[in-house]
Amino acid sequence: MKVVVIGGGIVGNSLTGWLAELGVTDLVQLDKGPFPNPGGSTGHASNFIFPVDHSKEMTQLTLESMRQYRDAGTLHECGGIEVARTEERMEELRRRMASAKSWGIEDCRLVTPTEIKELVPFVDESILVGGFYCPSVAVVDSLRFGTVMRERAQALGAQVFANTEVTGIDVEGAHVTRVRTTRGDFDADTVVIACGVWSPRIARMAGASIPLTPAVHQMIDVGPVPRFLTSKTAVDFPIVRDMDTNMYERQDGQGLEVGSYAHRPILHEPDDIPSIEESALTPTELPFTQEDFELQLEHALQLVPEVLGDESVGIKYAINGLLSLTPDGLPLLGETPEVKGLWSAAAVWVKEGPGVGKSVAEWMVHGEPEIDLQSSDVARFYPEQRTPAHVKGRAAEGFNKTYGIVHPTEQWESNRGVRVSPFYEREQELGAVFYEAAAWERPHWYASNAPLVDEYGVKGREHEWDARWWSPIINAEHLAMRERAAMFDLTAFCVFDVVGPNALDAVQMVAARQMNVPNGRVVYTPVLAPRGGFKSDLTIMKMEDDRFRVVTGGAHGMADMKWFRDHCPDGTRIEDHTSSVCTVGMWGPRARDVLASITGTDVSNEAFPFSTWQELDNGVIASRISYVGDLGWELYAPMERGLELWDALWEAGRPHGVVPAGIGVYGTTGRLEKAYRAFGAELDQDYDVVEADMAWWKVKGEDFVGKDAHVAAREREPAATLCTLTIDELSRTPLGREPIVREDGSPLVDAKGRRSYVTSAGMGPSLGKYILMAYLPPGDHGKLYVEYMGARYPVTVDVVGSRPPFDPDNERIRS
C-alpha cells in the first residue's frame, strides 16, 4: 500500500500512527497548516469525553479512544454530570443509565441536587431536579496525543509534511493515483481525507462527495475564577452538561469554559473557510456573534451564578468555533463509493478520534475494523441524501438536538417528500402517516384503518413516551393481515442486479449461502464480514443465467451495493434498478385469492412454491417470500405501472377485506412474532451466524467472505444465543437497547465480554405478548428482567434460538 493521509487533526494523527503500527511503511501525512495545531476543529476543541451514548457503535469508539488517550498519558479523569432542570429530562437520564449498563460503563449513577452541589459547589442546585453522574468522564490533551501518534509513525518510517496544501487528487479508471500539493506530487494508491470541515472540498477534487457541512458551535472562556485559584489540576471539578439548555460548563485551569449548542444553526461552506493567514486566530475560530449567545449567558448564569455573577470574572475569549455536522449526526468513515482507494475519515469528535484512527486503519489494512462501523459507513448515503439541501437541512435540524431528548423513532422534519412511490397519492387518500427512511416516504400506518382498533379490541399505551411515534392502528393492521391480508408499499427497497459472465462468482463470494441455483429461485442469505460477523442480510433472486437480482432493505442498500461492486470481477457489473422498480407486498391467508384474481398465471402452492419467483402474465414479477411470516408475495412492477398494480390489487382485495398496512407491521410486529432478525438490530458485526441461530443451511464448498471464521463458529459452542423473550405483564414498552439483568440488577455478560441488551422490541399482536429479542449467554440465570426508565420488568425466555413463537412450523408461509 502506498498511503497518503491528508489532515493533521486528531483523526489524521491517530490514523497515521495506527497505519504505521499495522505495518504500512510507505506512508505520508500532509497538512496545510503547522504542527501541533494546524488550525482545524481539534485545535480549539473542549477536549472532554462523556462516554455514555445510546449508540453501541459510538460508545465502543469512545471507550476505545479513552483507552488510547489513557495509555498515552493524555487523559485526566475529572468526572461529569448531566444535569436535569425538568422531570422530562430526568426520564432521559434514566435512559442513559440503561445505556451505560448495556454498554458496560460502570459506576454511573443518578444523583440528587444535593449530591450535585457536593460534587460541583459552584452550581445553583435549586434549579435542578437531579443529574446523571459518570465518574469516568475525562478531559484529554488531543494535541499532545496527536503528536505522540504522529511521532510514533515517523519513528516507524512515515513522512510527515506540515505547511503543505493539497491542490488536486488524480483519479484514473475510478481509482486514486496521485495527490498534488504545493510541495510537489505524491503517488498513492490509497488516500485518506481526514480534513474535518474541509473534507468536502478535498473530496470534490477527486470527484467524490463527503456529505458534511461546517457549522458553528459557540464557546466562551471566563476568568480568573477565585475558587479555581487553589485548584490542583486544570479540571478539579466534574464537567457539567446542562442538557435542557444545550450547554456545558467546564473548568479550564483558572478559567471556566462555557459552550453552547443552543443557538440558531450557523452553517458555513467548506470553500469559504478563511485561510490560516487571513484568520485572526485560526480558520476554525471565527469571530463571535454576541447576539447568538445572549440567552445562553442568562442560562449559564442561572446554573453557575457564583462564577458568572462575579464582577471580577471577565469574558476573555469568545469564538464561533467550526465543527463538522452530517445529515444523521454520525461520522463519515470508509472507502468512498465513487473512487476506489479514496477513503473518508471525517466528521469525528475528539472523543472518538483515536478509536476511529485505529478502526479505519484496521479496515484499510485488514479489510475489516474490530469495531463495527456500519452506522458510520460513508457509503450509506443515497444520492438524494448527498444534496446540499439534505445535508444542510438535516445538519441544521440535528444541531439543536445535540443534547436533546430524542425518541428512538423520532422522525425528521426537514427535507421530506423527496422520494415517493407511484402509490403515494393512494396512500395519502388513505390517511397514511409517513415515516422516512433513506429519503423515501413510507406509510408507517394508515389513519383510515382506525376503525380496526375497536374491531380487534387493540389497547393503547398508557405512558406518553411509549405511545410517542406509535399508534394502536399498527397492531390492528397486523391482526387484519393475519386474519385476511394486507398490502404494503415496499418501493424503498434497494434493488440491483449483478450481471455478466462471472456474476455467479461475484455473488458466491459475497453471499454465505449457495448461490448456484436454478433460474427462478429466491435465496435469503447472510452476508458476512471477514471475521464471520454480519455485514448484511438480503435476498437474491436468480433471474437468468448471468443475472442475479439483489433486494435489500433501503436503509443499508447503498453500502450493500458497494460491497457487491467491490467483489465484481472484470466483466461483471452492477445495474441499479432501485428507481425503475416498485414493490407491493401482499400477505395474509387471502393473499393467494387476491393475486389469483388479477393474473391468469397459476399461483397455487404446487405451481408456485415458497422461495421462488415467476413473471406473471401481466408483467409483474412475483417473489414468494415473506418478512411478515404469512402466505404471500413481493410483487415487483416497472415504476410507471405501479399505480395500475396497486389499484388492481386494491380492487381485487375489496371482497376479501384486504387492508393497506404500513412499516409498523412490516418492520416490527410481523417479524418479531416470527423471530425474523433485522440487520442493524440483532445482526451486526459483533455476532456470528451461529449465535444468531441462523445456521440451518449447509456450508457450501465454494469460498465466500468470512467462510473460515464461519466454519470455526459452527465447530464451537456459541458464547451467546439470540433469544425471543416476552414481558410477563404488559405495562411499559421498552423500545430497544435496554439491558437484560438478573434479579439483583447485575447485567449478563457473555464469554466474549458482551452484555445482554434488547436488540429489538415490539408487540406481537397475534400472541398478545410484548416481544424482546436479546443475546443471552448459556446457562440458567434465574429470573430475568429488562431495565427500562429506571424500573425492572420481569421477562420470560420463550425461545432460545430462532424457532418462531407464532406458527412455529411455518404452515402459513408454506401454505
Partner: protein
C-alpha cells in the same frame, strides 16, 4: 465628573489582509470587529475615573456592537452617529463637535491617539480646536486632580508631564492601563443601557479615496525551519553560534 470617550469600529485582521474585488475596502466577511487598543484603554480609564461615562462613535448601525462592548465594562450611555459611508477626519471631527454641543458639557473628552485603520492622528486635535479646549496627545498616564488633569507622555525613556485645566481633550496610547474584560453581569446590563442614534448629514469630503493597496512582502514574516540542522545553519549565519 462627566467623561466622553470617542471610539471607532475597526476589523480584527489576521496576518494577511484581503481586499474586496474593487479594492475599496478590506474583505470583512470572516472578520470580527473591535475598537482599537488605544481606545480600549481610553474607555477603561474613563470607567476608573468614575462619574458618568458616555461613549460616542461615528459608524454603521453595526457599530452598536462596539458601543455595547464599552457599556459592558462600565460606560453608562452611548451615542451612535450612524452612517454607511467613510468620513474624512475633518467631517468626523465636525460631526463629533455637533454631537458634543447637543450635550451637557463634559469635563474630559478622551480619544485614541489614532484609529487602528485609517490612522489619521487628527480627529482628537480637530475636536479640541473647534471647542476651544486644551488638548494633550500620546498619553501613557492620566491623573484627574480636582479641576485639573496631570498627564504623562513617553519620550524615549523619560516622561514629559503636562497639566491642563478641565475641561480638556486628551488622546491616549495603548499602555495607559490594562483594560478589563467584561463580566457576565456587565454584558447583561449593557443590553439595556441607553443608546441614542442620530444620522448626521455627511458634508462634502476633503479627501477622496482612490483605492487600497496591500504592500508587497506583507504576509509571511516567518520561515518554518524543518529540523535542527536548519536552526544551526541560521544561528551560524547570524554569527551567534
Amino acid at each position: 465628573m462627566r467623561t466622553l470617550v470617542c471610539v471607532k469600529r475597526v476589523p480584527i485582521t489576521g496576518g494577511k489582509m484581503v481586499l474586496t474585488a474593487d479594492g475599496q475596502a478590506l474583505e470583512t466577511k470572516h472578520l470580527g470587529f473591535t475598537i482599537s487598543p488605544h481606545e480600549e484603554c481610553a474607555v477603561e480609564e474613563a470607567v476608573r475615573i468614575g462619574g458618568e461615562v458616555v461613549v460616542l462613535t461615528l459608524g454603521p448601525a453595526e457599530a452598536e456592537e462596539q458601543v455595547r462592548d464599552c457599556m459592558a465594562i462600565g460606560a453608562d450611555r452611548g451615542i451612535l452617529l450612524e452612517t454607511t459611508e467613510e468620513w474624512d477626519a475633518q467631517s468626523t471631527a465636525a460631526a463629533i463637535v455637533d454631537a458634543i454641543r447637543r450635550e451637557e458639557p463634559f469635563d474630559l473628552i478622551l480619544f485614541g491617539n489614532e484609529s487602528a485603520d485609517a490612522a489619521g492622528f487628527q480627529v482628537g486635535i480637530r475636536v479640541a480646536h473647534a471647542l476651544g479646549l486644551p488638548v494633550v496627545t500620546g498619553l501613557k498616564k492620566i491623573e484627574v486632580q480636582g479641576a485639573r488633569v496631570r498627564c504623562e507622555r513617553d519620550v524615549g525613556g523619560a516622561r514629559d508631564v503636562y497639566e491642563a485645566p478641565l475641561p480638556a481633550v486628551l488622546t491616549v496610547l495603548e499602555g495607559l492601563n490594562l483594560p478589563r474584560y467584561p463580566s457576565v453581569p456587565g454584558r447583561l446590563r449593557a443590553k439595556s443601557k441607553p443608546l441614542a442614534v442620530v444620522e448626521p448629514a455627511r458634508p462634502e469630503q476633503k479627501l477622496e479615496k482612490l483605492r487600497l493597496v496591500v504592500p508587497e512582502g506583507q504576509g509571511k514574516q516567518a520561515e518554518i525551519l524543518e529540523d535542527a540542522s536548519q536552526v544551526v545553519a541560521v544561528l551560524q549565519a547570524l554569527g551567534v553560534a
